[in-house]
Symmetry: C2
Subunit: 256 residues, 2 copies
């Protein structure tokens, strides 16, 4: 059983997981950040030891959890490569083998978006786990269950995690960009984005009950070329938005 | 004050507005559908008269509401062009002047997505109104307020409605298509779309509190070309999705 964790990183993921682990009775031993100030801010909340050198992390913790940027993960992990403790990263897009030759590599990936500023208080989110050792998998599974419930812990391999990440880019990052496009289109004519929010919320509600394919509506789904051309003309002053409109519309038409 | 309505159309919008009008104490006089069966089904709920000829609609109702497909609106409306009653259509994408030379043209556009099968039970949605006569605008405003509250009634001109519609295509139709893309990507590897739903819900929740531009995350927002190339390679078996990924990513990068 994982009774203590040290966290390498003090960003959005580290903040939110530390809080949830603490609520579940797991001790936070030490927190690393490149900036001592950031390590201290987070460590102070749980009476943990803040450090600004990776090698000073308490490597006798039951779990060393890496919540750092993808592009520094390999380098930071290599500093602790001699440890025999369980080491898990929290990234959606990095393979477990980023840890190289260590004894007990693992992944503990919370499939949710967090911010330091706002304590996550939504419904339970999926935790995707992976480990080289079966024993460690069981431990991470129990740790995940303690924060999101057993139903939300998924054993997901590195290749599956990649699939999940590509899908999430479409379903979350790209949709968010489209909300921004809508906001800009409205702003240009002095209208508020707020007016669209009930429709956005209902659109998302529908995928939950009936799935996205069944609920596709709009000019493209109807093949309404008159409206489509009308909209393309409307967007002629912004060729980026026009290209985007055209491509997505063409794809919807060819798939319905 | 609008005390009675006849509805031309018996689809998703007609079903939901009829129910809301009825709840607000407005009488439903008659319902037209090309198919008598559809007119009867809806009319029976409110003790209204079903008709399958437009000219048989009760044209002494305080409001003749057109809830038919955009492409037949002009033709259907022309049949009642001699009436002196208030006539409003419910379309997001058709100009008020579709009514031609009639005396009291108007628009009563509910900015929400409805289905016949599922009674709408979400929060109040915006109702966008427009009318040639100031008197009629006041009447439609009161009617809108009776179903969604005065705060949700917006006076929106035809050109503004067009802007709104273009924005809604991006924020709702296109985002829904992206949910479908994500679902397909996961299905290809035997994974369920359900695993993404908490993240989708949180992404939408964030635009409400902080706005889309401030909450843009993901490989494109970070300019993480290693992950981006990785994803493009992953998508190489589906050139449609690959093109889409590339275009949206390029736009996010050039806008952040």
């Amino acid at each position: 059983m994982i009774k203590s964790v040290s966290i390498i990183g003090a960003g959005n993921v580290a903040h939110n997981l530390a809080r949830m682990f603490n609520s579940a009775g797991v001790m936070i031993d030490s927190i690393y950040s490149r900036e001592m100030r950031n390590a201290s801010t987070l460590a102070a909340l749980y009476n943990a030891n803040p450090v600004d050198q990776v090698q000073e992390i308490n490597d006798s913790s039951d779990l060393l959890l890496f919540a750092v940027r993808d592009d520094v993960l390999a380098k930071v992990a290599s500093i602790l490569a001699g440890s025999t403790q369980l080491m898990a990263h929290t990234s959606g897009s990095v393979d477990m083998d980023v840890f190289g030759d260590i004894i007990r590599p693992a992944v503990f990936y919370p499939l949710q978006t967090f911010s330091k500023e706002k304590k996550y208080d939504g419904p339970p989110f999926p935790v995707c786990i992976e480990a080289k050792e079966q024993n460690d998998l069981a431990k991470l599974s129990a740790l995940g269950a303690s924060i999101v419930g057993a139903d939300n812990v998924y054993e997901i391999s590195s290749p599956q995690r990649k699939t999940l990440h590509v899908a999430a880019v479409f379903a979350c990052n790209f949709t968010n960009y489209f909300y921004g496009v809508a906001e800009n289109i409205l702003k240009d004519r002095n209208m508020s984005f707020d007016i669209l929010k009930p429709l956005i919320v209902e659109t998302v509600g529908k995928i939950d009950s009936r799935g996205p394919a069944a609920t596709q509506t709009g000019p493209a789904a109807r093949g309404d070329h008159k409206i489509i051309n009308n909209h393309l003309e409307y967007l002629s002053s912004n060729t980026d938005y026009q290209r985007l409109y055209k491509l997505v519309t063409d794809l919807i038409i060819s798939n319905t």
